[in-house]
Every structure is written in structure tokens, then in C-alpha cells.
């Protein structure tokens, strides 16, 4: 094979030219730029509905919440972001600490979102809820044996608990909420107790913990409710068997069910503030709220929003932890340190 240096250099020059030539076409339609840590296909349906309704074009970047925050910091005043969306209150808190949001006083938001699910100064709010709950084996566990999150740390369940790793943000936010509820010492004892009860090294995601219960590897697990709902709503026969073998307990006793949010806010350096406001309010419309409930099995934040989802209905009403989700961010670092101290991998 003859590769001449000249031809290689020529090829390189062509490629470089192609890369430079690839500039974004400026067109006349109004655009809204969203930085989102959500990457569900169903979000495209929400964006589409907004575009149809307003004629505003949406462009997105989807990446992990931490990467989005770093990108916005690097962008600085030249940031292209109008709206920022994350799937965890802790990340919203941190973005707010870094000054990446601007406040938006909206009657619609104040009216439709419960106070515990929005930032005290209107920097961001939750538009969909996820509950972190206890999955248990229908066969080997009786529901009245579960009396809140404390149960997971009870020595009675030695070698019977499955949980994913502590690097996972859902676990961190739960412990952050428990720190607020019980104080540092009790919360750390709880984490220590759960670690002692591990049936196996934490690995895999929430769905894998649910399958492990069905297969008999463990009896209790900590999972987000929508993973179970997804299995239960599946048409696959094997999934149905898993859903039949496992049930969810919403630990209301002693403080309520831990709830986290998918949240959004207006970027500090947004170019198109009006469109951002429109979009945020659209997220709270009955139409969008229904999509979250029906497509991703999340709970709508708007109590009155109608939807059809038999599995969610089957879970019934529950008492949520009244703590403001902003606290999850404040306690996040301490929660991670606690996990490190008790050796929760």
C-alpha cells in the first residue's frame, strides 16, 4: 500500500475544511435551546407538542447533569442554554449554587407545583416525581413486616437486601433526606445496617435488583417506582412473571415516602427568556403532565392532572416526605461521605 505524505496531508486538509464549513445555519424561526439530563424518547413527544403549539423550534443537548453544569460554566456569558432540565434535585441545587439559573416568578408555577417541590426563590421547580420505595418478594415477605426505610437496616434481614451502588444519585438523595429526618448519627447507623444486610455486592441498576428478588437472590430491595411500573406495564411474559413475584411497599411510616424530581429552570444567560417561560409553563400543562405519567410512569406534580396508568393507580395514594427537595442538594456531600465511611460500595 502506497500512502504518500502529500495525499494524506491533502485528505487531512479536506476533512478540516469540511469541519470548518459545518456552521450552524441561521434561520428565521424562533428557537429554544434546552440542556437536558433526561434522555427518554418520550421527551421528544413533549418537545414536539410544544413546537406544534407555539411554532418555536426546540434544539437540545442531552448529557449527564454534571457534564451539563460544567458545559454551562465553560460557556459563561456566551451560553446557548435557555432551559436546563435535570433528573435530580441535588443537581438543580448545585447548578443554582453555581449561579446558572435566573428566577422566574410565575403564578402558574406557584399554583400548580407544591411548595416542597420548588426552589424557595423560584430558580427551579419539579415537573415530575419519582418515589424511591422498597420492593419485596410476594412469596417470602409479608407487607406488614415493612415499617419504613428502617426495615432495611433491621438485623432480621441479614443477607436478604439488594441495593445498587452508592455512587447512584437516587441512593445519595435518599440518604440526604434521611439525614434531614433523623440527623447524622441515626442516618449513618441506618446505612451501616443496610450494608450488613447486603445479599451481594451492589451491582447493576434498579431493574436488576427487582429481577434478583424474583429469582430468589434477595427479599428486599430499594428501587425507584417507575422501574417496577415499566416491568409491570411490559407485554413480555417473563417480565409479567417478575412483576407478579415482586410488589412495592411505599414506606410512609415515620416520615413519608422519599420523593425526588425531574426539574427545570431558566438558564442565567438565556437568550430567549420568553420562550423559556412558555416552555416551563407548558411542562405543567395537563397535556405534558399526562405524558410523563403515561410514557415514563412518573408521577405528575400537578395533583389535578388527569392520566391513565393502571399500574400507577394500583400503587394508590401515598404520604410523601414533606421536606423541601432543595435540602437533598444541601445534604448530598454528607450523604456520599457517609456511604464511604460505612463501606457501601
Amino acid at each position: 500500500m502506497r500512502i504518500s505524505i502529500k495525499s494524506l496531508a491533502a485528505a487531512g486538509a479536506c476533512l478540516a475544511a469540511a469541519a470548518c464549513g459545518q456552521s450552524v445555519d441561521e434561520d428565521s424561526t424562533e428557537t429554544l435551546t434546552i440542556y437536558s439530563a433526561r434522555h427518554y424518547d418520550s421527551d421528544r413527544a413533549v418537545y414536539q407538542a410544544f413546537e406544534d403549539q407555539t411554532g418555536i423550534q426546540i434544539e437540545t443537548i442531552e448529557a449527564g447533569g454534571d457534564l451539563l453544569i460544567e458545559r454551562m460554566k465553560a460557556d459563561g456569558e456566551r451560553s446557548g442554554a435557555d432551559v436546563v432540565i435535570t433528573v435530580d434535585a441535588g443537581r438543580l441545587w448545585r447548578a443554582e449554587q453555581d449561579g446558572l439559573f435566573q428566577p422566574y416568578d410565575s403564578e402558574i408555577i406557584e399554583e400548580r407545583v407544591p411548595e416542597s417541590l420548588r426552589h424557595p426563590e423560584g430558580k427551579w421547580f419539579g415537573f415530575a416525581k419519582r418515589a424511591r420505595v422498597i420492593a419485596y418478594s410476594q412469596e417470602r415477605v409479608s407487607p406488614d413486616e415493612i415499617t419504613g426505610y428502617e426495615t432495611l437496616a433491621d438485623p432480621k434481614w441479614d443477607n436478604r437486601v439488594c441495593v445498587r451502588s452508592s455512587g447512584n444519585i437516587y441512593n445519595i438523595s435518599l440518604l440526604a433526606a434521611l439525614i434531614e429526618r433523623w440527623g447524622d448519627n441515626v442516618a449513618q447507623d441506618w446505612a451501616q445496617g443496610v450494608v450488613r444486610n447486603f445479599a451481594r455486592v451492589p451491582s447493576g441498576g434498579d431493574i436488576e435488583q427487582i429481577r434478583a428478588i424474583a429469582a430468589g437472590e434477595c427479599d428486599l430491595a430499594l428501587v425507584n417506582h417507575y422501574y417496577y411500573a415499566r416491568i409491570a406495564n411490559s407485554e413480555d411474559a417473563a417480565d409479567q412473571e417478575v412483576a407478579d413475584a415482586v410488589a412495592l411497599n411505599f414506606p410512609e411510616d415515620n416520615g413519608g415516602v422519599h420523593v425526588n424530581i425531574s426539574g427545570a429552570g431558566v438558564a442565567a444567560n438565556a437568550d430567549n427568556v420568553d420562550a423559556a417561560h412558555q416552555f416551563l409553563e407548558f411542562l405543567l400543562s395537563d397535556e405534558a403532565q399526562r405524558m410523563f405519567a403515561e410514557l415514563t410512569n412518573e408521577y405528575p406534580v400537578v395533583a389535578s392532572a388527569p392520566y391513565e396508568n393502571d399500574v400507577l393507580d394500583g400503587f394508590g395514594e401515598f404520604e410523601a416526605d414533606p421536606v423541601n427537595v432543595n435540602t437533598l442538594g444541601e445534604n448530598q456531600a454528607e450523604a456520599q461521605r457517609m456511604f464511604d465511611r460505612v463501606g457501601w460500595p
Binding site: 487531512g12 457534564l67 458545559r71 460557556d75 437472590e217 461521605r337 460500595p345
Partner: protein
Amino acid sequence: MSAAVSSRLGRSARRVTAAGPRPVALAAAIIIILPIAALVVLAGSGDFAYLRHLADTRLLAYVRNSVTLGVLVTAGTCLTAVPAAWLTARYRFPGRAFFSWALALPLAAPAYVTAYAYASLTTAGGPVYEASNGLVPAVRGMGGAAFIFTLALYPYVYLLARQAFVSQAAHAFDAARTLGAGPMESFWRIGLPLARPAIAAGVALAVMETLADYGAVEFLGAPTLTAGIIRAWTSFGEAETAARLSLILLLATCFAFAFERGVRQGRGFAQSSGRDRPNERVPLSLRGAGIAILFCSLLLGLALIVPAGRLIWLAFDTPGVRSPVPALLNTIQLASMSAVIAVLIGLGSAYAIRTGGWLSVTAARAAQTGYAIPGAVAAVGVLALLGFLQRVLDGGLGSAAPVVTGGSLIALLFAYQSRFAAAAIGPAEAALTNVSASLDAAAQTLGAGPGRIIRRIHLPLISGGLGAAGLIVFVEVMKELPATMILRPFDFETLAIMAHNYAADERLAQAALPSLMLIGLGLPAMIAVSWLATHNRKRRTAR
């Protein structure tokens, strides 16, 4: 100088090509190390509270896991790839031609995809778990991680080692036979020592990628130092601490490979070609062929057919996935552009190292270290650098300044080079090591200038190695996640991002199709490399 094995490169010979691509290499290397420099600046800020906490709690476990995994993956890749390379390069047996290129294919499967596939097979509820009643251990923890990384990364060692074995001259083996050495002895005393730089380069790539991986170790529950690095950032928002820990990881990796290089020093071999003739493949006995086929099939089966088969099964079972075609086209565009650029940089750096001089060697080595940094942190380094550049531009040009922090292919291509140039420099250097300095000297005596020496002598001899280097970069860029995610233009998706997004949402079945396309994209690339290698051989036969 004996027929095939010559002494280490002489000083005078080193200077021959000095005027060549050295300035190019220097410039490229400096551009590449800028993001690392940005990380160093970042690491200098912030406080040490988290580091102290980590030292009190889990640092030891993280480091222990990293070292263990590095050692296991070194052993695993060598024990699988070196025999496979030796067999397909030196022997004739049915299926050899197929295995020789197919064994490189698993490189197209990202480690995290292989991990997802094996986990879904072997954990509770999976078909293997059900069929064996839970007797086959689930792929998880340190053992599982070593298993996955060996399968996902052995092709690095295989590709480079095979290239080295194929290009080894027959004289040395003839001489060994004359002196009564059997096949095993000629492997241990000639084949292996001659291929050592190539094997070391391959192992270096495999281990660096293992240590910098986050997705698979987090999923499998084998927390290495990188898990700690990412946590410093995601749980504490301390990009500074993450940068600091990354630099520690980077230094440790550098020391490890500097040590290897030190041990190798003084045992450098170059082959004189001259009236060389190519190595004939030795036919294997029936039993030998059986063992060879079994070994190669088992390796290929475990690394590619089992996980890909699981993905195909899942993909068929899954309704309604978005069309992956736009993502496919984007992936091809990014990966091929990066491969061409990386080969140019790799070639330049390899020459810089060959011609010596502390500045060029240091620059080229520094450019290689980018590979040892976790992808997410490297992406932060690029972002920090671009942010700085943006402020400089804004200061000079005001609002007329172009936006450079993201959303352009240039930024993305730059990030890829800073991270993956190592994948091209190592192999290019290894290929060049096999070109004897006496060839340069001979050509020079005949009046050939450096450019002519490179064109007429070096390039034909090393094009196979360069092809492998380009391929590796192509595949790496194809699989890359964090930098692509954060620096890509709006609404721009790649196959890796698609697969990752589905998998991160625990929708493995939907991740199956883009993952399969990633593997499919690697196929023609691998065949091209195989073609390059055989073509090279034929040309040498003709000469």
C-alpha cells in the same frame, strides 16, 4: 550485525531523519497536551477536604482495586492475545485466514456493552442463570470486571502482536532451527522478544483504558480509582478534586510504563531486511490444528458471539426504536476524520521519538498520557481550556468572537485527539521500531534525503502498523461517550450516545440495535487492516 537481529539503534543512525516531521510532531503534541495542562491548573485550585476524607475511608480500596484490575487485565490480555496472534501469524490451520481478522473484531464492542450483555445473561433471571440454576457465577465484581475487560480489550494486544509476528524475518527462525530449537523455544527466545515492544504497546492501551473506564466498573460493582474520581465530581461538585485524582492516576500509569520501558531498554531489536525473505507459515498437525481452532473459536465466541448474540436476541424482541441511521452517519464522519488526523500525529510523534532529543520525546510521551485520564475528566479539561480560549477571544474581539466552547465539530475533533492520539502514537512507534537503522544508513549512502527515505523505505514497511493505528482510533472515537456528549453540536447523536442513553435508563433491549451497529461498523475497518497486513507481506515477497 547478524542476519536478522541487529544491535540497538546507533546514535548516528538516529540523526538521519531528524529534519523530517519533527516540528510537526512537536506542534501536534503541544496542542494535544493543552487540555492536560488545563487539568493541572484546575487541580491547583480548591481545598483538600475531600482528599483527606477519601484517604481516611476508601482510597486504599480504590487503589487496590485499580492495581488488581490492571494486573489481571495484563495477564488476561497477554494469555489470550499473544497465543492467538502467534498461532494466526506463524501457523497454517483450517480457518486461520478467518480467525486472523475476526479475532480483532471484539474491539468494536464497547466494554460497557459487553458488560451489560453478560450481566443480563448471568444475573438472576437471565437465561444462563436459569439454565444452570444459578451455578454459573454472575459476571460482577472484580472477577467479572477482569473477565469483561480482557474480552473487550485483548484485540489491542492481538492486533499489535500479530503485526509484529508477521513482520518478523525468517532468518532468525531458520538460525534457531539450525541450532536445534523447537517451536516453543523459538517462540520464547525469538518471536516473543522481538514482538515485545508491540505487546507492551498493546497492553499499555488495554490497561490505560481499563483504569480510565467508569461505565463498566460502576455497573459491575468493581470500584476503581476512577469510580472515586467520578464521585468526587458528581457527588461533591468538585471538578478540582477530580482533576487532582486524575493526575495521580495519570502519574501512576506513567511510572508503570516508564518502568516497563526501562526494563526493555538495552534490549531493543531492529531487523535488518536486505535480502530477507518472508516467514513461511508452518502447517500444524491434526491435533495441533484442533487445539488452535478450539482456542481461537472459544476466544472469539466469548468476546463477540455470545454478547452480540444476546444483543441480537434482545433487538428482535423490541418494538419501536428510533431510527439509528442519522447517528450512524454522524459516527462514521467523526471516527474517520479522527482516524486520519491521529495517524498523521502518530507518525510525526513516532519520528520525533525515533530521532531523539529530549524535547520531542517528552512532548510525544506527554501526548500519550491523555489516554490514561478518565474520559469524563478529560472532557472537563477540554471544556476548561475552551472556556479560557473563549474569554481571550471575547476580550479581543468582543461579541464578534466565534463561540468555541461547544457545538462545533472542531472542538470535538480536538478533544478526541487529546485523548486518543496515544492509540496512534504507540502503534506507529512500535511499527517504526522494526525498521532497522542500517536501512536508513544504506539509503543515505546512496544519496537519498530524509523525505525520500520515509516515502520509499519507511512507509511501505510500516503502513500495516499505521493502518492498525488508524483503525484503533476509528473504533475508539466510535465508542467515546463523555466528550461527545458534552461537546457535540445541538441535536447531534452518535451510536454510542444512543446505546448509552438507553442502557443508562435500563432499557438494554433498545440499546441493542445501536450497539450492534457499532459492532457492524467495526467489521469493515478490521477487514481493511487485515488486508493491509497481508498486502504488506505479498509486497515484501515480490521484492
